[in-house]
Symmetry: C2
Subunit: 117 residues, 2 copies
């Protein structure tokens, strides 16, 4: 398991600014209390445009109310902008729509999924 | 513009099986009449899991009714499975939900977007 993790670490590191994982650490406990990641998709479409995909946004239930989720989203969104993306997107549940609207996002489409396992 | 296109071509080529663009060509005209792409997102989450993201599915309006969209989706979905993804996802409009349901997908979440330009 540790070997898998290390392999993945080096795979992601090799992607440089195209894959960023943001974390907030509680310095007193050393625990990670919020995280979110982004990867940059490169297209031929939209004049060889780039799209930022925000994934895996989680805030520890003991750290709610500190606006950490908003800070993570603001950081990842700014990263996408600096990378030259024409848009940044994410998928979320209906219950989280209001939160993302407060972060400046709008609903556009629906997400479809097919599971293999 | 051509230089941009070639730069992007080599960037995408370097991603190997992590980024595939599928096309259907009409051999008589030499025109591309259907396309769709997939890229493979690598996570730490889900036991260092992988997710296939299907993007940019388009069928020429003169080539409808030939099930080319279904073939493109089947090819990209199978690619995700072979790459070891635990799921494949895509975003689409409400009007296209029925098509993707026929392809074995289910709606799960909603897509949120923020445009920079």
């Amino acid at each position: 398991m540790r070997a898998n993790f290390e392999d993945r670490f080096w795979e992601l590191s090799a992607l440089g600014d195209d894959h960023i994982i943001s974390v907030v650490e509680d310095e007193s406990s050393g625990k990670i209390i919020a995280t979110g990641s982004i990867f940059i998709e490169k297209k031929f479409l939209r004049n060889c445009g780039k799209v930022g995909h925000i994934e895996d946004v989680v805030v520890d239930s003991n750290a709610r109310g500190l606006k950490l989720g908003k800070k993570i989203i603001a950081f990842l969104t700014e990263h996408a902008r600096l990378m030259g993306c024409y848009k940044v997107i994410l998928d979320c549940s209906l219950e989280n729509r209001a939160f993302y609207e407060k972060c400046g996002f709008k609903q556009k489409e629906i997400q479809m999924v097919k599971y293999f396992i």
